[in-house]
Amino acid sequence: MSNIENKVSYLDNGDSTRMLPEVLEEILPYLSEHYGNPASLHQFGLDAEEAIDSARSKLAEAIGAKPAEIIFTSGATESNNLALNGLRYQFPDKRHLIISPIEHASVDNIAKRWSREGWAEVTKLKVNSEGFVDPDSLRSAIRDDTLLVSVIHGNMEIGTIQNLTELGEICREKGVLLHSDCAQTFGKIPLNIGELPVDLASFNAHKMHGPKGVGALYIRKKVKVRRYFEGSPQEHGVRPGTENVPGIIGFAKAAEIAIRDMDKEMKRVDELAGRLADGLMEIEHVGFNGPPVGKNRLPGNVNITFRYIEGEAILMHLNIKGVYVSSGSACSSTTLEPSHVLTAIGLLHEDAHGSIRYTLSRLNDEEDVQRALQVTNETVKQLRAMTAFIPEKHSKHVDENAQTFYKHKND
């Protein structure tokens, strides 16, 4: 603790990222002189419409789609809501929904609501201990009245990247639509949605150094989605409301930069994540959650369980020491429920409570990794020294070498 004190390491890029200066620069004129409404017929309106069209084309190209297949929204949460509810109103007779058990809260809560209201029966697919969806469970879940299959592409907590080709082909074979929440993968891994057997996909800007409050829904041509709130006929009549012009401009710019720099930056980010993961795994009594760092995991995502201590307390200590992360502990969630992702991959509640997620971005460097390692080590030691959780007394699964825990505790 010396020269790297008094600085902040932001390692919560899975929650949101810092906007890049180039993106900000692109947005600024649309927050001042270019204030026309794209629906207006005068020159200001036409200019705004042209700017949006150009952004739509850029974004479409970035994901391998056609401009007409892109609907701008307020973010991935809205895109998920639009995809699911839009199909529900389009196909009111299809009363069966299939989702993975590790979806983002937006999809998960729509499923809960439909099931509670008696609108649809919901089937949750099986995932293995690394979070990969079992293709056989998908094959056997699909029914004649299945409205949609929704599987998150890159999981926000444990970083698992699903094989959409394999899952999508099963859906195609059975004639069922597939939606995927790509909020975490877009800009981090190569994505050509047009070539994937995926019918709808959700995106957002602020996880890839773009602005908050803007996202998109990709709807494959010929797939019909009905708007679920009313207004003027913006966005092909699917998403009424005046477009978020500055947001859309920033989104397209952020996408362009992310793709331009992807090879170089994501390789570097994954190397940092690899070193962080290796360093953290040297701490005693830890567990690594999700697939190994590498091609099947979101670049920069590291999720670790520190046994016998609780995640919110770890997070708060790290916060005070300038390392910003998130946790899957029940105590850090406002609903007091442990992460449904961690419990779905088979973690005991107590192990979910001790989990910490570090998510790195292109704006992080080796110093951040070193600070995170140092501060985490100190914090884990400090909290274990005072924990009431005595492995043999309270744990269902005791580490093979729990004795070393006491040694550690009495250091």
């Binding site: 919110e312 708060m316 429920e337 009431a388």
Partner: protein, 221 residues
């Protein structure tokens, strides 16, 4: 939605007092469990003649407010007569922390209950008064247990919020109906689990059946 703590909670969490164990403790308790994500262990020395808590230390497994409430509880209890401690409510803890977020009020209940549980056990061991076999499973004991179940949305006990609408007891089987009123659905699981846990802890309870009912607004007791 972030959980916001007062500066006092942060202060107490980062510099907790009375941490550790007491070798020759004559009273102790552990409340909570790892599965819930919060647990406090107390060790005390109670003077058998004066019944004053002469020393107290704690260990904590839990969030920032769990650690802070336990630390404050030890400071409050130290030097006090056990009867005085038995009369404490969770408010004593929350007030000295300048308040807790509603979803964290249950931590103060755990911190105070742990103190009382250690004293109760000590009483059983050291004096002939208060024998635990006098426990009777009836509506009153169930309501008493349910007072410890906090609605995380309001930070108020479900009993106080008049959410407990029916209690039936039939040889080890307890049936409870909870009226959820305006409570946000996202808290339903937590309230149901907490209710189950507190009832299953009661001696003589073999089976707990909980029914959550919808209903209009709840009225405070």
């Amino acid at each position: 939605m972030a959980i916001k703590y007062t500066p006092k909670v942060i202060q107490e969490f980062t510099n907790p007092e009375n941490v550790g164990e007491i070798e020759n403790a004559n009273a102790s308790s552990t409340e909570g469990s790892p599965a819930c994500g919060d647990m406090i262990t107390y060790n005390m020395i109670i003077n058998p003649d004066t019944k004053i808590i002469e020393d107290i230390k704690f260990r904590s497994y839990g969030c920032a407010s769990n650690i802070a409430t336990a630390s404050v509880a030890t400071k409050i209890a130290k030097g006090k007569h056990i009867d005085e401690v038995m009369g404490l409510t969770p408010k004593a803890v929350t007030e000295s922390l300048d308040g807790l977020p509603a979803v964290k009020i249950h931590c103060s209940v755990l911190a105070i209950n742990g103190l009382k549980s250690a004293i109760r056990k000590w009483n059983e061991k050291y004096s002939d008064m208060e024998k635990s076999d006098e426990f009777k499973l009836d509506e009153e004991t169930i309501v008493r247990a349910l007072r410890n179940v906090i609605n995380p949305e309001t930070g108020v006990s479900i009993v106080k919020m008049n959410m407990v609408r029916m209690i039936e007891i039939e040889t080890g089987k307890v049936y409870v109906e909870l009226m959820m009123g305006d409570t946000d659905e996202m808290f339903f699981n937590n309230i149901e689990e907490e209710t189950r846990e507190h009832l299953e802890d009661l001696p003589g309870v073999l089976n707990v059946i909980i029914k959550l009912t919808e209903g209009k607004s709840y009225s405070f007791e």
